[in-house]
Structure formats: structure tokens, C-alpha cells
Amino acid sequence: MPIKEKRFLRFASILLAAALLLIGFARTGQVAFAEKTGEAELEGSPLHPTFPLLDEDGENVLDTGNPVSTIETCGACHDSAFIEKHSYHANAGFDNMVPAGETLTERAWDTSTGLFGSWSPVTYRYLSPAGDEKIDLTTPEWIQVFGSRHPGGGPAFYSQSGEKLSDLAYDKDSFESNIVDPKTGELTQWDWEKSGAVEMNCFLCHITTPDNDARKKALAEGSFQWANTATLVKSEIVKENAGEFEWNADAFNEEKELKEEFLHIQDPSDNNCGLCHGHVHTKIDEPLTIKDISETEERVTLTTGQILSSQRILDSGLNLTDKESLARTWDVHSERRLKCTDCHYALNNPLYQQEGDESQPDHLLFDPRRMELGSYLERPLHQFARGDSAQSMVAPGTKNSMRTCQDCHDAQESHNWLPYVDRHINALSCESCHIPKVYAAAGMQFDWTVITTESQAQIQLRGAEGKDGVNSLINGYTPALLVRENDNGSKTLLPHNLVTTWFWVYGADERPVPLRDLELAYLQGADYTPEILAAFDANANGALDEKELRLDTEEKASLIANRLSAQGLNNPRIIGETQPYGIHHDVATDKWATQDCQVCHSENSILTQETQLSTYTPIGAKTEFTAGSNILVNGEIYTNEVGESYFKPAPAQEGLYVFGSDSVGWVDTVGLVSFIAVVLGVLLHGGLRAYANYKNPGHEIKTEKVYMYTVYERFWHWLQTAAIVILLFTGLVIHNPSKFILFNFKGVVTVHNILAAILALNAAISLIYHLVSGEIKQYIPRPRGFFDQTITQATYYLQGIFKDAEHPFEKTPQKKLNPLQQITYFGILNVFLPLQGITGIFIWGAQRFPDLANSLGGLPFLAPFHTLIAWLFGSFIVMHVYLTTTGHTPLAGIASMIIGWDEVEVHTQPEE
């Protein structure tokens, strides 16, 4: 065997082995133990060797009783320092802190775009920028509050100067060394030595049964160094008793290594991700329920309603409207056994390595070189592939690193039923149709201008009747389709939930009023202060219900403002912020996706459907979209008379002209007015004619039969008539389908296109006929005397016709058209018809040659233009048909166009 081939084979087998090993790592555990033990999820990877748990000095925890150090323990084989350094999950924006107000969000108090330094309406709390007088969170309290959704490492372990927090030298003014004393509001020293810091928590994501509750408890209690140890409580490796942890010697073998039955190391499962990222339900036979949507674990579900499960919705335990009909699963990818990590993989995972890197030679389709598996396992990047969603400022380094829908799916292949497929794919994200609805409640409004006795915002959910995420009736909601500017410059519609927050800010350097000050303003112990009750408690029952606890009057608002001012908060005022949250999960298969054209192509298009932002609006407050996202907000936010705020999108402003939904008001107005004017004019003229005829019955006119129109001319004319009438009608249906619900939009579009082609062909052939036969002359006004003749003809229509005068110009086969007709037909056939054809072709071509169509202004220009001319055509037809009745008898003109023979007046005076 030639060496080359041998090498290739060896290489290929290594590659295969590596791939299998990886698959094994990910899957074998699940499969081998799939038998109905019910304990399946306890099984980790069979590949992972057993190991001792080490403390931060590298000593076995069984000997020292110290908390486990993941950096030391896992670092024995994996490069834990590398992992920590390359993990946005740990870093949370810590390495990219900027002075307050200089982030993309433009919030005056944001210092990063990650969890550490970026404000969220859901939690409200914020890391105080250095130098603030009133302080909300300093680093230690940030860990207590936000640690529940942070895996440790980064800002939970290091100070901004780079040293370990636990070694930090004390500085009385530092926001890292101190914590706010809730009693005084002043800084007081935090004992880092006692609390320790939080190392990056490998267990949280890599064991099958992480004890997140115990971990959160340790963090909230300030027992930072024990947080990672607490994660092992449920695995019974360690026992917790009143905040004290004791290692379970039975979980270790003689070498003081973890026993195999306690070893459940695995690739992160969906359940691990679900600890922070929203509701995950993997048990297919156990009905899905949500205990409390405001739990930390449900954060993503709270902001978007997304639920990740392979269960059919009808099998869930949720109280959903029409649940029995919901035979779809929550998420088709989950149904088809994809895991979170299949899309959000570690970026250097050789199994998922992305092709098409810029550095790759153009001719190379596949680069088989892969990182050796051992290297990957030693230094797996903990930067995970991600998309390009609304919160696009998070983890900017990995933006758009994920495979998109179209990297895996060939939409062309599966959408051959869809007319104008390219046009649709260019304008719509896959999610727009494949996430037609979210079947859960989601946050709509967080009102932090008031607080409940539990120091929570007044929260309103959308998609649910009632506020209780569990017991209320869930209707789900249709996401708002907003235009997103993608990284590559394209713009697509994407489904979003809009979360609006109302809150107090104060000071010249705008800051949210710290929660402590809000509590002070509203609460006295666990209850509202008497002043608050007096002002808010309308029904005087001693408690504030949802309708009372809102700043809906000037009195209530100024009471709070005054109280806040009195607490030293300068110029307190209410602002609003509306944050779009992209929805990318809960994808439905074709059967459940939007397929009905009229969902978008109608007057009630979801593209322009208003989305409710709030059920009430605090007095004088206005909301604005969060700055810095990649959502192009076009539309209008308005508050109605009962105080509800709405957003009505206007995607047309982003170049999306949607047939059936969009129309340009003045075009339709001008068109309709001209049409009606013609109809009225015709009626008036006809009425006067009839009246004149009644008063003064016409004299006998001498006529003769003339063969006026050839067979071809007649055929051409009537074919054109039929085509134009059908085109006008189908065009009207396309323009306003909701008025013609009997018609299938897709079919009507096709008929319109086919008739347009017939009309064009008919016109082309007749043009050749007229050119070759010379008949074209009839349409071209002869310059000499043209104006006089025109005036003569016009005078006839305005005066002579009522006096039973003779037609001023003789109609002969050689000269069928009078001067007025000449102008009209010249305009219609040589200007309007071609214009209508050209705009039509470009509208049709928006799919096929979008660049050319766009260079002519794109659909937003072409479509209204086409509509305008269509109106004029309609008006012309009315006029034209009327004028055919002005022959010597009303129906003579039409009859002649049918049979070819016309009776024309024999004029007494010779022609000029």
C-alpha cells in the first residue's frame, strides 16, 4: 500500500475513533443505561476516570475537610485556568468593563454588557459604578444576588486589579472590599477571608444531579467558598448541616477517590443548561409543569415564554387553552433528540468544527484536520456557539458563531410549495413562521415604580389570564415580528417578546433608585407605611391590590417622588424601557408553522399587529426601546385612553412591502378619487345626454355600413379587455385580500402573473401587427391641426353631443380614432401599459433579480406605483366603455367591435 494511502487511512481511523469517542462521551451513558431503571439520568460518562476531590492547596478534602476547589480538582487533568479564562459564562463581561454609560445600551449606569455590570429589568438590582454616592450593589453583594445565575470564576473570583478576591487588600472606599450596610446605607467591610471567593463551578454543568438550591443558598448566605461544594449535596458526596459541610467518607474509595457510583461526570445535559436558562423538561412521560415562573431557573421562560421539551404540549400539565388540539411538541429539535450543546457547542470541539473559515483556501470544501481529541479534552474552549439575537451585546466575541437554521436545513428543498421562496427567505427568518406562537406565559411589564411587600415589582404577564404562572389559564401569545439587522447586513423579521419596565431614576447621572431606597419609601418592616396606605389603599382594606399598587394619579406619583427626594435622591423621575427578547426555540414543524398567506398578506397582518406593552402606564411615563440592540425599531408606541401602552410596528419603513397588508394611503386615495370622479362624470354626462335626447329626439342620420375592425383587431381587443379586467380584479384581491376572503391568495397571485404574461404577449404581437400593417399610424396624432381638432372633438363631447350634432370627425377604417382618442390610447398603450408591465415585472423579479428590483426603489416604491397605475387603468376603462356609447346608437360601438361592421354617419361636409 502506498505510504500516502496508509497515512490517510491511519488518519481517517484516528479521526473516526476520535469522533466515536466523543459521541460515546456524549451519548453512551444515556444509551447503555436506557433500561427502565428510572435512574438513567444519574449515569454520567463511562469514560471519565475516578478522581480525588482536592482543596485549594491541592490536598484531599477528606483529609482537610476544606471546600473542594474545582480549579485544583479538575485542573489535575484539564487546563482549568484556560477554561476559566475562555468562558463568557464565568467572565460575564468582567474583562470588558467600561466607564458607566459607555456601553451599547447607553444606560447611564451600565458598565458592561454582561451579567456583571449590565442592568436587567427582571432583577432590577445593579452593580454600582465606581464613585456613586448612593450604592446598590458592590461586588460581594452582586455575588449574593446574581451568583444564582453565574457559575463562578471571573468577577466572583478575581478583583478588577487581577488578584484573587480572597487576597484583596482592604480599601475603605472600594466597591470590591465593602458591602452596603442595609441599616445605614454606608459601606462596611466584607470579610473575604471568611467568605472566600467562588471558583468556576465545573460541577454545575458537568454532573447529572447538581444541587443548585444548596449552591444558591450558600451564595446568598455569603458562604462563597462552599458554593461549589454545596453543588455536590444532592449527590450525597457531602452533607450540609446548618451551613456546615461535611464530606461523606462513604462516597470515596480506599485511594480517597470518588467511588464510581458517585461519579456522574457528563457533557452538559439540557437539564444543566436549564438551571439558569429557562424551563427544560426532559421526562417524556411526566407531565411538564412550571412551579413558579419567577424562579431563577425560569429566567428565559419569564422573558420569552420559551420552554424546551420534547413532550407534546397536550401531554403537559399546563393549563393551556385548547390544549387537546396541541399535538405538537414544545420544540421540534428537542423532540428529535437534539441537545442544547448540539447547537451551542464549545467552539473548538472537533466534532462540530465549522468549515468555511476566511483563512481557508477558496477551493477547499472540507478540511479534515481536526484538533486531537486529547488536546480538546485538556483545553476545551468554554466559549459556546451562539447566534445573533436581540441581546446581541452579550458575549460579543462569540456572536454569530453558531450554525444557523440554514446551515443545517435546505429551505429551498423543503419550501418548494411556497411562491416567491427566495423573497420570503430573504425577508423572513425561519423563526418567523416556525415559531408562530409561544405556548406559555411570558413577562410583559415589570413595574418597579412600586414594590410589593416582598420587594418585588408589580409584574404583568402576557399570554395568561391571571398572574399566577401555574394556576392561571395560559393562552400563549403570538410574538411580535421585528426587523433585525443581521451581522451580515441583511435584515430579517424575527419573533420577539417585548418586556417593558417602568422605574424611578434620580440624579444628574441617571441611576435607578436603589431597591433599598424604594423599600424605604414604601415599606415599614413587612408592610406599607401608613402614608402609602393612606394614598394608595382606595378600598381601605389595609392591603394594596394590583389595581391600587400603581402610580396612576399625580398624587400617588408625587407622594413617592417627595419621599424619594426626602431620602436624598435628587430629582426622582419615572422612565420606561422596552426590551425586545428574541425567540429562537420552541420551533414547530411544517404542520404547525405559519403557512396561510393571509397571516401576513392581509389587512390584519401580524407584521403590523400591535403588541401590548403594558396594562397601565405610570403617570407621565413614556417607554423607549433599549438602545444598542440589533433590532431596527420602526413603528409607534402609543398609550390609549385607559392607559395601556402598545407598540405598532411598521416594517414598511425597513423596506418590507407586504402585499395585502401594506398600502400607501395617498395612492389609494388618489386612485379611488380619480375612479369615482370618472364614474360621476360619466353618469352626469350620460344623464345629460339622455335628458337632451328626451327633450330633443334625434333626427334621422344617414349611415352606412363599413367594415371597421379586422378579425385580428377584434381578437386582440377582446383578449386585452379580458386580461385587463382579470388583472384589475386579481390585483385588487392581492392588494386587499381581507375583503375577498373567498379567494386563495396564492392562487390569485399566480393567475395575476399568468394573465400579465398573456397581456404582454398580446401587446407584443399586436405591436408587430400594427407596425407591419402600418395601422400604427392611427394612434399617432398628426401634428398639423392637432390642437384644433382636439378642441373640436372636446367641444363636441361638451356641447354638440347634447344638441344631436354630428360627430365632428368621420370614423373610417383608415381613421378610427378621433384626436382625443388618439391622445388617450397613445398614453394608455404606449405609456401606462408598458409602465405597468415594467413595474409588474420588477415586482415579480423581486424574487428572481432582487438587486435590480431594489435599484429601482424596491417593493416599497414599485408596488404603490403599480397600484396607482392600476387605479388609472380602472378609471380609463369606465371612461372608454362610456365613450363607446357615443356612436349613433349607444351600443353601436360595442357591436362593431364584436362583429367588425360599423354603421357610421355619412357626413354631408367633406373632410378637411
Binding site: 444509551v31 447503555a32 436506557a34 426532559t282 433528540r337 411544517d590 404542520k591 377582446w718 399568468i754
Partner: protein, 478 residues
Amino acid sequence: MQKTNFIWIYGLAATLIVILLPLAIFLPEETKVSTDPWENLPQHPIHTDHSSIIQGPFETGQDVTKACLKCHENAAHEVMQTPHWTWESEPYEIEGRNEPVTIGKKNQLNNFCIGIQGNWTGCTRCHIGYGWDSAEFDFSNEESVDCLACHDTSGGYVKGGAGLPVEGVDLLSSAQSVGIPTRKNCGDCHFNGGGGNAVKHGDMDSSLYYPQDDVDIHMGKNDFLCIDCHRTEDHLVTGRSISVSLDDKNQIACTDCHNNVPHQDERINSHIDAVACQTCHIPTGATRDSTKVYWDWSTAGSDDIEENAHEYLKIKGSFVYESDLIPEYYWYNGSAERYLLGDTMNPEEITSMNKPLGNIDDASAKIFPFKVHRGKQPYDTLHNYFLQPKTVGEGGYWTDFDWDQALRLGSEIAGMEYSGEYDFAETEMFWPTTHMVVPAEQALTCGHCHGEEGRMDWEALGYYGDPIDWGGRFSANR
């Protein structure tokens, strides 16, 4: 001149052609070719009201049959060719056996009531004949065919011992009510297999008399009769079960009515080569009434154990019943092995009475759901074969609770040698799950078989692991 007045007709025609022709060509056709399963349903004959045709009086069932045969001369002859009458198959050539064998209730064992020989009176109440109470029953007597068992629509016809009508049946009104077989005619025997409602099959029970929509999509929502699928010609009812047949001649298939490529989803259709329709569309058995999954004869006869129809009966021994039974899945190519009376068995092992045939390499086999009924039944410890006890009637076990006597009497009748030494050995019997098809939205989804919680034992089926990782059975990984 005059004829030009009609030229507009030609003109109109030409215009219409020019417009309609392109429309006909270019308007997208509805791609859905009609694959309407309804088109494949049999048409029922128009019912002839027999109430004025049939005159009584009738003393016996045989009298009724005689009256039927006056007009339907061939009917009894036809019935007598079918297994409903013979309770026995045509002789099969079976690999490894010297002579052709027949399979059927008439001559073989199961692991419920074990066998009918010697127990005719009790068992043949479900035979479509009259008077089969001994080996001497005349299978050629046309008058013994029971027409009413299948054709009574009055609901008042009930069969008793040896298949004779019970006391008090109004034979005249039954006879006048005759019509095409209803769910009750079939169900009275088939829903009660094993001696009671739902006992034997796990996919048939009395809920099918008047099924709700979701019990069985065909009989519930679509109001099918049994014979809509079990199409019948010349009294030969189609359908096969490996408890009493070994081949799939005359078998019914979903594809008799449904398209071969039934799903719109390619991914689902790719399963069809390896997975039977029933596997996904009948996710559980015994959804309404619990079914017997275990029967241990060895504990019978005790007065110390408390009786309870679903746990213990002195005459029968101990049982386990289960509801919402998740089927077991095996490769199945339509035929089965069969333990025949007199075959040597190994008492140390579980003996399969009718192991389904097929394996991962057998392209004609598919993964199929079975209710497996396991139990312990008597065998001869010297000859190492299962015994046929006499249970019913004089000297039978249910009368005297004497195993030795029951086995001796039974063996004599079955023509087997009995050494006098007996014990109980484990058996299993496979019941294909094929009825009670649920609505599509209740069918299994991917995760029911694939992934952590999957119900398939892939390695037992012959895969290296979950085919979602390893590929299908004919992929390169195998």
C-alpha cells in the same frame, strides 16, 4: 353578412382558450394525490330484514341453522372450511419436524387455561358450533354450525356449555334479527379471551363495544366494525394471530387501507422499513381494562390464600394484572415458532410457546409490540414436556383440586404418556399488540424510543446502541 353576426362565438372561444389554457398549465396543482383510506373500506351488503322471512318455532339452535340453510345453502359448508370452525390450521411443513403439523386451539397448549382437550364443554362455548363436548364431535355436520353466534343482532343470544344456547334464549327473535356481524358478535368471544374481559389480549376489551374516540381511532372515532378490517369472503374472516397460526397468510395490514408512505415527515417515513405501524400507533396496551401478564398455576388449590379475581383464585393460581401496559418489542416477520404438544422442554429455562420470528438481519422483519404473558404451568418431570390437565368437569382439577388426577385424565385424552411425576415450569407467550390504535396525536414521539428515557432495549434488538447515533440496521455501522 349574416354569418358574421356569430363570429363573436368564435372570438369568445378563442379568447377563453388563450386565457384558460395557460392557467390550466401553470396554476399549481394540488399535489395531494388522493390516498384516502376510506376508499379501501369494504361495502356492506344492503341489509335484508329477516323478521318476516323466518318463521319459528325453533326448539334448538340446530333448528335455526336448518332454517338458514334453506336459503343460504352454501353457508355452512363455507364456515366449515374456516378456522373459526376447525380451530385448527392447515397442516404446515415446519423446519426441523418430520411431518406436517397443525396448529390451533383444538390440539395445542397455551399458557392461560392450557388446552381444550378434555375441557371442551367449558372452552367450546366460544366455538361457532353446537355440542362440541368430546373428541367425537362431528365436524362434518352442517346443522351444528352456529349461525347466530355471528349474525344475531338482537343482543339476546348467549352461548353456554359446549356452545349450546343458554336456557331462555329466544331463538326466534334472534333468528329474525340476523345481520352482518357486529362488534358484539365478535367481541363476546374475542374481548373475553382467556376467560374474562381483557384477560388475554391486552389490546381488546369490552371498551370496544362502544369505544370512545381515543380508545381506538378506527372503531371509536370512525365507528368501524371488526369486519371492516377483518374483511370476510365466503365466511372466511381475514386476520391471523401467532397464538393459533404460524404464517401470515390471510393477514391484515395497515397498508390494506393506508398508503405505504403514510407520513409527510421524511424522518418518520424512514422508520417504516424497520418499525411496524403498531409500534408507534399503539403506545400502550390495556388502556381501559387491565390485562393478565402473569399466571402461576403452581399456587392453585390453596385454601390459605385469599381469593381475588385479579390476584388469586383457588382453581387457577396466582395472577398479575397490569394496565397501561408498555408492550415489549421484538423483531417479527409475521411468523412464529411454536411449542407443540409433546415437544421436549428444558424446565430450567423459560419456554416460549410462540416466539415471534425475525431478527435485525431479516429484512422482512419489523420491530413489533407484544404483550407477553408469562406464567408457570405443569410439565412431566420425567418426559420433560408440558402436560394437558383436565380442569373442567368430573375429575377435573377445578372440581377435585388433584393435580395428579387432572394430569392423568388430561394426558389420557390427549394421548400422551404421563409418568406420574409433575412440576411447574415457566413459559411465555406472545400476543401481538395490533388493536386499539390511538389517534395520531397520541402516537409515540422520538423520545419515547430514542435517548435517555427510550423504551427500546436496542442492544437486545441487535443494535450496538441507539440507532439515532448508530444508524439504522442496514447502515454502515452494523
